[in-house]
């Protein structure tokens, strides 16, 4: 199916699952349903998954498009090092988080969506993908040229002074044209 990076789709699915999990949890808690404790867990798990999944990974091939304002999330997620970099870990984490949601109707949908996201992440991990932070490119500012900083040591090559002075009556033998007339330097 082409060179699909499964993690890209897993990321979208997990983000959606997190939102649905959290929404189901809010409904369960607000309506004071039976088993609202599972709903409360659903809110916490959903929010956590959203925060984890918000920063998009850098793609292995092609240009990566950031989500708006994802830089601070990228920094937080990056701080966990191999835990967040590895997709096997993410797959198992999502699988674990989705289990309590299955015990209450309000969070079942979020739970199943998260389980599907976990499967797609597993597929991504098997294909050897991993999470890379998208960091702003710290390109060195365009150097105009080293030589600008230091004045030139030698004067530019010029013909000897006698020929440099433009003789008003003898324009053809002048070495070069001056934009302004030059008076003889005595």
């Amino acid at each position: 199916m082409g060179k699909i990076e499964w993690a890209m789709w897993a990321n979208e699915q997990a983000l959606a699952a997190g939102l649905i999990y959290a929404t189901g949890g809010i409904v369960g808690v607000a309506g004071q349903f039976r088993g609202w404790q599972f709903a409360a867990f659903g809110i916490a798990a959903g929010v956590f998954v959203c925060l984890l999944e918000y920063p998009r990974s850098k793609r292995a091939k092609g240009t990566s498009v950031e989500r708006t304002g994802q830089y601070c999330f990228t920094v937080c997620v990056k701080a966990f090092g191999p835990l967040t970099r590895n997709y096997y870990f993410r797959a198992f984490l999502h699988a674990a988080l989705c289990v309590p949601g299955g015990f209450m109707l309000a969070t079942v949908l979020g739970s199943v969506c998260l389980a599907i996201a976990s499967l797609i992440y597993l597929s991504a991990a098997i294909h050897g993908e991993h999470w890379e932070p998208i960091l702003p490119r710290t390109e060195p500012p365009k150097r105009v040229g080293e030589s600008i900083k230091e004045p030139p040591q030698n004067p530019p090559p010029r013909p000897p002074p006698e020929l440099r002075r433009k003789k008003v009556d003898n324009l053809e033998t002048a070495a070069y044209d001056n934009p302004m007339s030059v008076t003889i330097n005595e």
Partner: protein, 565 residues
């Protein structure tokens, strides 16, 4: 602001009508469940019943609509018929994918409301089974129908279960979960990131819509929404009898036990029509794809562009249309759209394919791109072509003055237009409505000029021969260049022919100043309708759209048309 109404008026009207129908259905069905028939249902559920049924009605409406904008052949046929009456209405059909997305968002929104309301419904049904207390009306109501299992009100029949189990064991619940999952998978794989980069995932996952529609039709089969039967309402008036629930059906009361029944499924009535149309659409596509297509010529252009010239019996096209091409030897399931670069007056159809991904690379190899010997015609792969489908460029010859703007490979529909122009004027000398064409080509690299420059060169020659050099005014803009190239260009500044394209018209550097261009054209053609046609990136579309709306000097009206793939 003057052109805004002309450009956007019909779209806004369509959207307002659509939103209006949604609001009407929502309110109407909300109120429909406030009647006495559902009095006892509401005793248990409260207003959550109405909050679930109202979005359900809107979902029926939107699921009916969602299949229609993607019936390409039907739309193409409609477009051809409407065009004779109204150009504006025909242009509206170009925005079909935008409408499809809007309806999809509405489906997602109503699904959310519907599910949340049903969560409350399930919880309240469960609650009323668990209040084991004969002096509670909800409990008494839930016990009705325990004998015959048909006249019941509460779909949860026992108190030893929980809502999750009930959901998975009822038709409505199970189909609901399945179709919601299908919907979520469809939506997440349709995000722009996935769609643009991994089209196959988007396309194959989108076919879950089949699961969605089957589940949708079956969703109401369990008749889980229950209200009092008409016969029961005649003998048992809920307003009078609800307070006497402890003595229903006993001797001496005039309130027999109420009898409940479920509503039959309604969704199939909404969606069967569009489903049938869509099946016809796929059959038409399949039939057209089975027609024999022969590759007559393959040309490799230096800018990683492959030109395929093909012949198909009975193929008719208009300028600027596109086709879907399939190569069974590469992939049975993939159809890719390409704009036709040949003119209707030619005897073959040609497409220029840029080699960017797997499929195009495979086509390149299959057509002998990496070999230097000439291949025999019978070794070339078999192709299938579906189309042609109409897009905005069809309308070019209906405007007196036309601005064509192409960015990079987006110039391809205009290749067809310009070739057709040449044929019409030079060979057949028909009386053409279009009097002047302004052509703008924005390109980031010089190599891409090559195949199109040939076309422009021959046009240029023909126009000068026929003394019509001012019919077509073209401007080519090179938007990126390397320093080394720039040095060469500076030196060649004085040459008569352009060093890049070899044309008499000089290539310009950088981006065009649209304000100046629009003003100049408006002053040159006062009071006329100018058609602006763009095939390029969204940023450029926004810029040109704004220019069209803001330039109304001398009474000229700019109508904006954008190709969308």
């Amino acid at each position: 602001m003057g052109n805004f109404a002309a450009n956007e008026g019909l779209s806004i009207f369509v959207i307002l009508v659509w939103l209006g129908i949604n609001v009407f259905l929502f309110v109407h069905f909300y109120m429909a469940f406030l009647f006495d028939r559902y009095y006892y249902t509401r005793v248990i559920l409260g207003h959550a019943l109405s909050w679930a049924r109202a979005p359900a009605a809107c979902l029926n409406f939107n699921c009916m609509l969602i299949l229609l904008p993607v019936c390409r052949n039907l739309l193409s046929f409609l477009r051809g018929s409407i065009q004779h009456c109204s150009r504006t209405a025909a242009r509206q059909l170009d925005r079909n994918i935008t409408f499809h997305k809007l309806v999809a968002y509405m489906i997602a929104f109503h699904t959310a409301i519907h599910i949340i309301a049903h969560l409350f419904n399930f919880e309240r049904f469960m609650d009323s089974q668990l209040m084991i207390n004969s002096s509670s009306l909800p409990y008494v109501l839930s016990q009705i129908g325990n004998n015959d299992n048909r006249s019941y009100l509460n779909p949860i029949r026992s108190n030893e279960t929980n809502p999750t189990i009930v959901m998975f064991t009822s038709i409505a619940g199970l189909t609901g979960v399945v179709i919601t999952l299908a919907l979520i998978l469809i939506i997440t794989s349709s995000m722009e990131v996935i769609r643009r980069s991994y089209f196959e995932v988007f396309w194959f996952t989108h076919h879950l819509f089949i699961v969605f529609f089957i589940g949708l039709v079956l969703h109401g089969a369990g008749c889980i929404v229950r209200g009092q039967t008409i016969e029961s309402e005649k003998v048992h008036n809920p307003i009078e009898c609800h307070s006497q629930f402890e003595t229903w059906g006993q001797n001496g009361t005039n309130c027999p036990e109420p009898v409940f029944a479920g509503n039959p499924p309604m969704t199939w009535k909404w969606v069967v029509g569009p489903m049938f149309l869509y099946v016809c659409e796929r059959l038409v596509r399949f039939y057209r794809s089975q027609q024999k297509v022969v590759i007559t010529k393959v040309v490799m252009h230096p800018s990683k562009t492959l030109e395929l010239q093909m012949k198909k019996k009975g193929f008719k096209m208009e300028v600027g249309q596109y086709v879907f091409i399939q190569c069974p030897s590469i992939s049975q399931l993939e159809w890719h759209p390409f704009t036709l670069t040949s003119a209707p007056e030619e005897d073959h159809l040609s497409v220029h394919i840029r080699i960017v991904g797997d499929w195009t690379q495979a086509i390149y190899t299959a057509c002998g791109g990496d070999k230097t010997v000439v291949l025999d015609a019978w070794t070339l792969p078999k192709m299938a072509v579906d189309g042609p489908f109409g897009t905005a460029s069809e309308d070019v010859f209906r405007y007196e003055v036309v601005m064509l703007v192409g960015a990079g490979i987006g110039v391809t529909p205009f290749a067809s237009v310009l070739k057709s122009v040449w044929y019409k004027h030079v060979q057949e000398n028909k009386n053409v409505f279009t009097k002047k064409i302004y052509f703008y080509w924005l390109c980031p690299e010089t190599q891409a000029f090559e195949w199109f420059a040939d076309l422009l060169q021959s046009l240029e020659r023909q126009m000068t021969e026929k003394n019509m050099s001012d019919f077509l005014s073209y401007n080519i803009y090179l938007t990126r260049w390397k320093d080394a190239e720039a040095a060469h260009l500076r030196v060649q500044y004085e040459a008569e022919d352009d060093p890049i394209t070899g044309l008499k018209q000089k290539t310009r550097y950088g981006k065009p100043n649209w304000d100046n261009e629009f003003s100049a054209i408006a002053t040159q053609h006062p009071g006329s309708k100018v058609g602006v046609f763009l095939c390029g990136p969204t940023a450029l579309a926004t810029a040109l759209g704004k220019q069209c709306h803001s330039h109304t000097e001398c009474g000229a009206e700019f109508i904006f048309n954008k190709e969308n793939f």
